[in-house]
Amino acid sequence: MTMILSVTKIGRAMGAAALVAGLAFAAPAFASEAGGPVVETQSWSFAGPFGRFDKAQLQRGYKVYKEVCSTCHSMNLVSFRNLADAGGPGFTMDQAKALAATIKVKDGPNDAGEMFERDGRPSDRFAAPFPNDEAARASFGGALPPDLSLIAKARAVHRGGASFLGDPFTLYAEAGPDYVYNLLTGYVEAPHGVTCDGALQYNQSFIGGTCIAMPPPLTDDIVTYDDGTKGTVQNYARDVAAFLMWTAEPKLEARKSTGLKVMMFLIVFAGLLYLTKRKVWSSVAH
């Protein structure tokens, strides 16, 4: 019994020791993250509680997506009508109709039981470049270009350490677009001693490994912007990342503006309840 008693007395010290030991063992693992993907955070118009999409930026991003990304990547969850939705790129319904009409859609069967081709309508989804994943893989040596509808929410880079503890306070929720931007601009000279097999490319920001199957998709002046914005890789990357955030989270503006109203209501309501509570309890010592 005395032995157990002394164990209890040093229990406190042991608890502290266990924690220190735990952190000490964990420390070397943090260090390995230093060599991880390079992701520099960008400034986004849609960040923070009052964030809104920049319509001009989304329209530019759409153009980059359409002229560059969509030649290999599908975007199966987005329809042309969405381009005219509130909180989106701000195309008119007529513009959305015109854009939809540029594609051919296989439909049917008709009354005669035949499949037929028709012009696209606003309710049609964006056209996929390949009929199925296997066809896409066959064209890219086995690599599948992922669907881009949700990519800005389906990718994020761990920034290491305890940064996740600060995110709820700073409301950092743009890890996805930050990653897309950095990936598109991350094709740099491979460091000494790093080689990529065959058609693979070195990319300093890729989270899936050292080398990526996607060749550098953007070069300066590859897309001509209609609003005079300079056609640089950085501008393309930033604009298309913003566009992909919108396709991943099309109700972002509705969410943030609803949030503001709900917050204001709840804060006033809480204040009134607190005053009521004080009044009710004022005659009772507690």
């Binding site: 209890t8 608890g15 502290a16 063992f25 070397p28 929410k153 804060i267």
Partner: protein
Amino acid sequence: MSGHSTYTPSNGFTRWIDSRLPIIRLGYDSFVAYPTPRNLNYWWAFGAILSMMLAVQLITGIVLVMHYTPNTLMAFNSVEHIMRDVNWGWLMRYMHANGASMFFIAVYVHILRGLYYGSYKAPREILWILGVVIFLLMMATAFMGYVLPWGQMSFWGATVITNLFSAIPLVGDPIVTWLWGGFSVDNPTLNRFFSLHYLLPFVIVGVVVLHVWALHVVGQNNPTGVELKSEQDSVAFTPYATVKDAFGMVVFLIFFSWFLFYSPNYMGHPDNYIPANPMVTPAHIVPEWYFLPFYAILRSIPDKLGGVLAMFGAIAVLFVLPWLDTSKVKSATYRPLYKQFFWVLVICGLGLGYLGSQPAEGGYVVASRILTAWYFFHFLVILPVLGLVEKPRPLPESVTAAVLAKNAAH
């Protein structure tokens, strides 16, 4: 319900009701006249907050089911249909997903409040055990709910967790096949998880009724841990507890809204926005954050069966907690040593949670083992021994005496 009913029907109609089904009397006795300790602090608001979160999950869940399709080929896109095309669907779905996290935040606070103030001790053992049952049901419900969107983490989380049952000797593999409804996690698995995910919340409601019933028989514990002795130790539930709980609930809703509206994916995993693909395993399979401490315990044991037993043991130990703690004093306020061990346990739990999110390798595994050992050491060794050796501080005469002494000191 402790003591006789003070309800008097005020008119002919309520008298007529009362003599046939005294449901108004039940409500009055439980939520109006019910005596509640006058010294409760805001940690006691989490019971009401949990009831609110259960209601939020039920209502949003029932609406989501109107638009969701439990089929492996359609589930993922039906969730995206809710997010994109259903009016206010994004709100329902984010409320439900974040609501689950909020539910667990509240339940962990509620459990820790019980641990700190000794709310599991006589005469509240059954009340406590029912609470642990609710916690287990919540875990099962949340786990199956996370599978429904049929993203990568849904699929692989389901695969990892159901595979745990294969650790059972002899019948492990047949049990796993039976759980899956096939030879891998597939459409039959999704369908039964959906069915059970819809069923279990109502089971939770039932056990919550028992939990509240037991609470109203034995009465609430309070920060002194001293049982109520006279009428002046308590106040009527309404308006005193009602308004205080309402304030606590609205403050919690502000906290909930902060995540819901401004960072709704913070507590989720990006991989769950990738449709489930049985051919591609994610680099790190991690459960939802609220399972991470138990996941760390699972992985800290090098043996599969041992890990499973340790994980379930970590919860099973809570069932016998009322008999492991040998101290007669309830509240940590009057237990100088227990108070410190309590906080060490909290830090141990947070540490396990962090380690559960990290890859099971190197220093992380060693740290998990140390903290897992500490977790069990706390319940199985420290608590029984502490009650015998600790010298508690003198207890107040009564709740009222404690309140008056505190107010005099200020």
